[in-house]
């Protein structure tokens, strides 16, 4: 065993690892998916896979907000940003995501008015300061960030601001999990559930995973011990033949979520019939759009966007990585043509992306262990 980065509770981690190993049935292989990119980051940073027996594989899921934004939406955003009357505002994570003609950073360097913000409320302030320009917020993220966009829209409405709008790319985690469960590419034994998303949606939305698919889910915190503890809880369920939703992160995640946040999302946004996810294809009812009542704040209605579907670069295997079919180092361009400085795919852009996390922590020399399908044969999950 190799410990990449000793952390303060390494002894406890070893004790948990021993308990996990004791639960493994001889000859059985276990595949557990950590849905959230924050968990992926912790796993790589601390080399948690090295604490686990070889029969347990951690599969990295789609829970990285910028990773799942398809090329076509980046191009649409660039189209909006290029309008002289528009100031585009975006989280820093989104700035390097490549579209078919470069990223926000590239466009900004070429003179387009794109500004990096920490919060949608910062976009609101820019709108107040620039009454003669339309300030568009590039809204991305799962249910962790959707409430912030919703609350900002409500605030803008209350103030009567008429020059603030949202280019809404919010996605919802449950349909993506369902698409992965329905995908023939991968057989999973259980899920390490996302922590912060669950702060908003609670644990109930995962109940179908236990009920309909007989897979256990443990909602987990972000520290190394949280993740090992959650793996132990999953392995206990598997050993007992149980499939339940458990909450390891109950010190932060309420079972019913944050009702104020859910109300704010419900007031301002509604489900789209379908949305394209990078690598996963079109998934029904998997993303949010602005409700009619707030049409005046919907950048897609205020301005026309091309809305063209753009295929990912051929060399990029982010789709397989996002579905957990390939490990980052199994991608043909990982660490060579595709690096955090010059990313080809989104998984190399965000610190929550599996490829960037893996690259940054120097864990590039690994042998293929996942049961990967040949490159190019994936991309069918959840197509509808």
């Amino acid at each position: 065993m190799r410990f990449v980065d000793e952390f303060r509770d390494a002894d406890q981690a070893r004790a948990l690892a021993a308990k996990i190993a004791a639960l493994c049935e001889p000859g059985r292989q276990y595949k557990l998916m950590e849905v959230c990119g924050g968990h992926t980051h912790t796993i790589y940073k601390h080399g948690l896979e090295d604490y686990l027996p070889e029969s347990i594989t951690l599969v990295h899921g789609p829970g990285c907000p910028v990773c799942v934004i398809p090329m076509g939406r980046v191009d649409d955003a660039m189209h909006l940003a290029a309008r002289p009357d528009v100031i585009m505002t975006s989280f820093g994570d989104m700035m390097r995501v490549p579209g078919s003609s470069g990223s926000f950073f590239d466009a900004k360097a070429a003179g387009t008015d794109i500004r990096m913000v920490y919060s949608p409320l910062d976009s609101l302030k820019i709108a107040r300061q620039n009454p003669d320009r339309q300030v568009v917020f590039m809204a991305i993220g799962f249910e962790t960030t959707a409430p912030s966009t919703a609350m900002t829209m409500l605030r803008a409405a209350a103030e009567g601001l008429t020059n603030f709008s949202v280019f809404c790319n919010h996605v919802t985690i449950v349909p993506a999990i369902k698409a992965i469960l329905d995908s023939p590419d991968l057989r999973l034994d259980g899920f390490i559930g996302p922590g912060h998303v669950s702060t908003v949606i609670g644990c109930r939305p995962y109940e179908f995973i236990a009920r309909d698919y007989a897979k256990p889910v443990v909602v987990a915190g972000f520290e190394p011990l949280d993740i090992l503890q959650s793996i132990y809880m999953l392995m206990l369920q598997l050993a007992d033949g149980r499939a339940e939703i458990e909450n390891q992160y109950s010190r932060v995640v309420p079972w019913n979520g944050n009702t104020v946040a859910l109300r704010a999302i419900g007031e301002t946004m509604e489900l789209r019939p379908y949305f394209e996810w990078r690598g996963l294809g079109f998934i029904s009812h998997s993303a949010l759009r602005v409700r009619d009542k707030y049409a005046a704040m919907d950048a897609e209605r205020l301005f026309s966007v091309p809305g063209v579907r753009v295929a990912d670069p051929k060399a990029c295997q982010c789709g397989e990585v996002l579905k957990g079919v390939l490990k980052p180092w199994e991608c043909k361009v990982f660490g060579t043509a595709c690096t955090p400085e010059t990313p080809i795919g989104t998984c190399m852009v965000s610190p929550e992306g599996a490829c960037a996390a893996y690259y940054n922590f120097g864990r590039v020399e690994r042998h293929r262990v996942a049961e990967a399908v040949p490159a190019g044969s994936a991309g069918s999950a959840g197509n509808s």
Partner: protein
């Protein structure tokens, strides 16, 4: 972006009840606490902050653990704190 950053509530905004000043690693900034309207935090209490909004209340021990974890992850945390410092929320 998805990092939850712990902050201690320093004071509530005198005129806007959904805003509060928080202290994050010595950086004091205004954040929105509207998502905790059902149980608003008081000065001295800790919250987990996402993109300028407090998403949940946490206790001091959880805040300390979360901060130790964040400081350990390096660049991504430094970028988030830098972004928070440059934030214009009002």
């Amino acid at each position: 972006m998805c990092l939850g950053i712990p902050g201690e509530v320093v004071e509530l905004h005198p005129e806007q009840p959904d805003l509060a000043k928080v202290n994050v690693s010595g950086v004091k900034r205004l954040i929105n606490i509207g998502l905790l309207a059902d149980d608003p935090p008081k000065p001295g209490e800790w919250v987990l902050i996402h993109v300028g909004f407090a998403l949940s209340k946490i206790d001091e021990a959880e805040a300390a653990a979360a901060m130790a974890f964040l400081e350990g992850i390096g660049q991504a945390y430094e970028d988030e704190i830098k972004a928070l410092q440059e934030s214009l929320i009002e």
